[in-house]
């Protein structure tokens, strides 16, 4: 990545942070926070985005940010009151700003109409505020959107001027303020000398006698004759910083015209454009000694100012302290690839350590031996390193949660409901891949909570609830996993209605006896949707089954609990990383396999009476009153020709992503442990039914089953609904 691309990336990262700040600030203001620092932070966020966007010529972003910022500035200067209506516009503007940032980053299209409408709205707010505060058209209109560094256009094409001018006569009388602001006559003269041939004269006529001399005063006038092809604009530009702190006359001299004699001593032209500050100009000896003492930095002792400017020895000091103060960056940025490589290597380390431990055990060394003790310490260290490395990839869920508050906002606008999103545990960290892949299911659940969960203000009022509903989004670490909960204080699941819909859609028989929990879980069945009319809010025509599938794909589980009249809670439990997996290590025909723990519903040791033949070669097992097809893993993977007898073996009841239940027959359960996932595809090739591989402590490769494709390839899975039908029928 070249430097500019890297800075551009930094800019977008920073934009994300600024958008976060912006949202947090606006929400705080919406809650009644009147702290000026909050308003300032909000303003700064937009201002910063504008500044960076300008640097990368993201004109549309600049234009919107500018209008947004102008209105925020009116709030900051208390010309515009941050009323709920105004804040609503601000929050919507923040959303559009976020869209524009995203569009700039990914070259996506943006909703131009929405942006233009908001620009108009923002300008409307600004002009109302300006009218109210008695200003005519201030703000957005008055401030020119001028991002051309006009005063720096030395190298630019000269503007239309008088090309026949051969030079200029400049009369320059500095005032004391000029020096107080760090400007210097000598530097200006030097710059003039760069533009062409100069002759400089110093008029000391106003210089008082020593006893009347104010050391911080300015008494000299400089007359410069400059021969140059530059236009007058370039000269004005050179004096731009000092124009308010001096008297300045610039007169063009025509070619051939004679200039009037300078009033003071004429000095020879300066050839060297780099005079030292101690000898600024080749003026007469007297003047050259006086000028810096009087006209230069007034704070310095006269002789010192001439002999050694203070900055010189300060610079020396800086040299000795070089490196002490650098960028105060508390973070470093690292390529994701490097982190992943590190994670892989640590994975190898974990495997190697496990192998070593096993070898030592097999060698018959006592646990108390020094080798075993050392190995114990190594194991501890390895685990710490693994956790440390995983933590590098970990990210707080905060940005994800912030996105949800926007969704709630848009939904409340669309539904007319009043809903507040409360978030908890935003600092909870989880692997960035998990964060990224959580966005869609979480969005869907939040939409559901607002659309189906929370009631309209009227209904709420009638139920004796506050008119504003609340959706709570929380994250927490629980026993090595992250648990994310979405709960609402709405009406809860309408179980009679869910039941009725399920019957109508023939998902369950009309006379099915279901527990509350079973009814709630009907929501996860494919094709189930409680919306009586097609809503454009709760998603893309998909139901909670898609959410469940996405969560399961992440190795997670989802559950519902609901109390009628008090609301519902959806709880998701996810692994902290996708690099390791909680697996059940099983033996099948002398082979070792790993089954993801999240897919396993229960394990059984079936009795003979549980197993029933179905047709010629199929068998099913009674499972909680229903039947699940039996699949012999060994036979399916080609380890044996005939299926093993499940009686005497172990059966793992698994549930796939598409909610089919199957009973997998294995010979024995060996262990339950965390395994490091090694890609089979990268090292061998893709195998249907196999997700990946891992290396066991004895150095052998164990395949990790992909329950979903494994069941699909056997083609014997029964839809969960059928199991449920069997269970209840």
């Amino acid at each position: 990545m070249d430097t500019m691309a890297a800075i551009r990336e930094t800019f977008f990262q920073e934009c994300e942070e600024q958008l976060g700040e912006l949202e947090v600030g606006l929400l705080a203001m919406d809650e009644g926070d009147t702290n000026p620092e909050t308003v300032n932070a909000v303003f700064r966020a937009v201002h910063s985005i504008k500044g960076g966007a300008g640097a990368f010529k993201l004109d549309r972003l600049v234009r919107f940010a500018h209008t947004f910022e102008t209105t925020l500035d009116l709030i900051r200067s208390e010309k515009l009151a941050p009323s709920p209506a105004v804040l609503k516009t601000m929050l919507r503007s923040a959303d559009v700003l976020a869209d524009l940032v995203k569009a700039a980053r990914t070259d996506e299209a943006v909703d131009e109409a929405r942006m233009e409408a908001l620009i108009e709205e923002l300008k409307g707010l600004a002009s109302d505020a300006n009218e109210a505060s008695g200003q005519d058209k201030g703000g957005a209109e008055a401030e020119p959107l001028d991002f051309q560094p006009l005063m720096l256009s030395i190298d630019d094409e000269p503007e239309v001027s008088e090309p026949e001018a051969a030079g200029y006569a400049i009369k320059f009388t500095p005032m004391p303020d000029l020096y107080r602001k760090g400007n210097e006559t000598v530097r200006l003269m030097r710059e003039l000398a760069r533009m062409g041939d100069v002759s400089i004269a110093c008029d000391v006529g106003s210089l008082p006698l020593l006893d009347a001399l104010d050391p911080e005063g300015a008494y000299l006038t400089w007359r410069v004759e400059l021969s140059t092809n530059e236009d007058i604009g370039a000269i004005h530009e050179l004096f731009e910083f000092v124009v308010d702190d001096c008297e300045l006359e610039i007169t063009p001299i025509r070619a051939g015209a004679t200039n009037e004699e300078p009033q003071s001593a004429q000095v020879p032209p300066i050839d060297d454009v780099r005079p030292a500050p101690s000898a600024p100009l080749a003026a007469s000896p007297v003047e050259s000694r006086r000028e810096p003492a009087v006209d230069s930095r007034a704070h310095e002792d006269e002789t010192h100012a001439v002999a050694a400017p203070p900055v010189a020895h300060e610079a020396e000091k800086a040299k000795s302290e070089h490196g002490k103060v650098e960028a105060a960056a508390p973070t470093i940025r690292v390529d994701l690839e490097r982190v992943d490589r590190l994670i892989n290597l640590v994975g190898e380390l974990v495997i190697n350590q496990a192998m070593l431990s096993q070898r030592v055990m097999e060698a018959g060394l006592a646990r108390s031996s020094s080798v075993a003790a050392g190995l114990g310490a190594l194991e501890q260290l390895t685990r710490e390193i693994q956790e440390g490395v995983m933590a590098i990839r970990a990210q707080p869920v905060k940005p994800l949660f912030q996105r949800m508050s926007r969704i709630v906002r848009e939904l409340t606008d669309a539904t007319g409901k009043s809903v507040r999103l409360r978030t908890e545990g935003e600092a909870t960290e989880v692997d960035r891949t998990v964060v990224e892949r959580l966005a869609d299911p979480l969005t869907h659940m939040i939409r559901n909570a607002v659309d189906h969960g929370v009631e309209t203000p009227e209904v709420r009022a009638a139920a004796g609830k506050p008119p504003q509903g609340e959706v709570k989004l929380s994250a927490a670490h629980r026993s090595g996993r992250i648990v994310i909960e979405v709960s609402d204080d709405g009406a809860g699941i309408d179980r009679p209605r869910v039941r009725a819909i399920a019957i109508k859609k023939e998902l369950i028989p009309a006379d099915a006896q279901l527990s509350d929990g079973e009814i709630d879980n009907l929501l996860f069945l494919p094709g189930f949707s409680t919306a009586t009319k097609v809503s454009n809010i709760s998603g893309r025509g998909v139901g909670m089954d898609v959410v469940k599938r996405s969560i399961q794909a992440l190795g997670g589980r989802i559950s519902i609990s609901s109390r009628p009249g008090f609301g519902s809670t959806f709880s998701m439990s996810l692994p902290l990383t996708l690099a390791v997996l909680d697996g059940m290590v099983v033996k099948v025909a002398d082979q070792t396999l790993v089954v993801p723990l999240t897919a396993i519903v229960e394990t059984l040791r079936p009795k003979k009476s549980d197993v029933h033949a179905l047709g010629l070669d199929a068998r099913v097992i009674s499972d909680r009153g229903g039947f699940a097809p039996l699949i012999d893993v060994g036979q399916e993977l080609g380890y044996r020709k005939t299926p093993a007898d499940p009686v005497g073996g172990v059966v793992l009841v698994v549930e796939t992503e598409v909610s089919t239940r199957c009973a997998l027959v294995v010979d024995a359960i060996h262990d339950q442990r965390q395994v490091v996932i090694k890609s089979l595809e990268a090292n061998y090739r893709q195998v249907p039914g196999i997700a990946a591989a891992t290396i066991l402590g004895d150095g052998r490769v164990a395949l990790i089953l992909d329950i979903d494709t494994f069941v699909a390839r056997t083609n014997r899975g029964a839809p969960a609904s059928e199991v449920l039908l069997a269970a209840t029928g």
Binding site: E143, P149, S153, I154, K181, G182, A315, V325
Partner: protein
């Protein structure tokens, strides 16, 4: 010994851009993330030029310039403000606070270095 320049900006993007442009031009760059931090850095460094943003948390650019100018030690150090506004008001405020000059964002590196050279002793 290359000339040291202090840049004060809360935006990482801006700090990076300034650093790249100034370092390429042969300056040594020290950075601060806000006005307060800028004052701290000044305790340890003696930059020949200071470039500061205006809108910053903790201590903004105007406050920072006033505090720098209030210290005899830094009275003559040129201070350039970075501003996205070309409005006269902002420039005057900066001038009043004691700024030597200004750089309008966005800047290109040639022009940035040009302005720095113009004010640097």
């Amino acid at each position: 010994m290359s000339m040291t320049i202090l840049t004060v900006d809360d935006s990482r993007t801006m700090r990076d851009m300034l650093k790249v442009a100034l370092t390429e031009a042969g300056y040594r760059v020290v950075q601060a993330v806000d006005g307060m931090h800028g004052l701290e850095v000044l305790m340890q460094e003696a930059p020949r030029v200071i470039i500061t943003d205006i809108n910053m948390p903790k201590l903004d650019g105007f406050g920072f310039i006033e505090r720098v100018r209030g210290n005899q030690k830094f009275l003559g150090v040129p201070i350039l403000v970075l501003t996205t506004e070309s409005s006269v008001e902002k420039k005057n405020l900066a001038r009043r606070a004691g700024a030597t000059g200004w750089i309008v964002k966005p800047f290109d590196s040639v022009k940035l270095v040009d302005v720095v050279r113009r004010v640097a002793a």
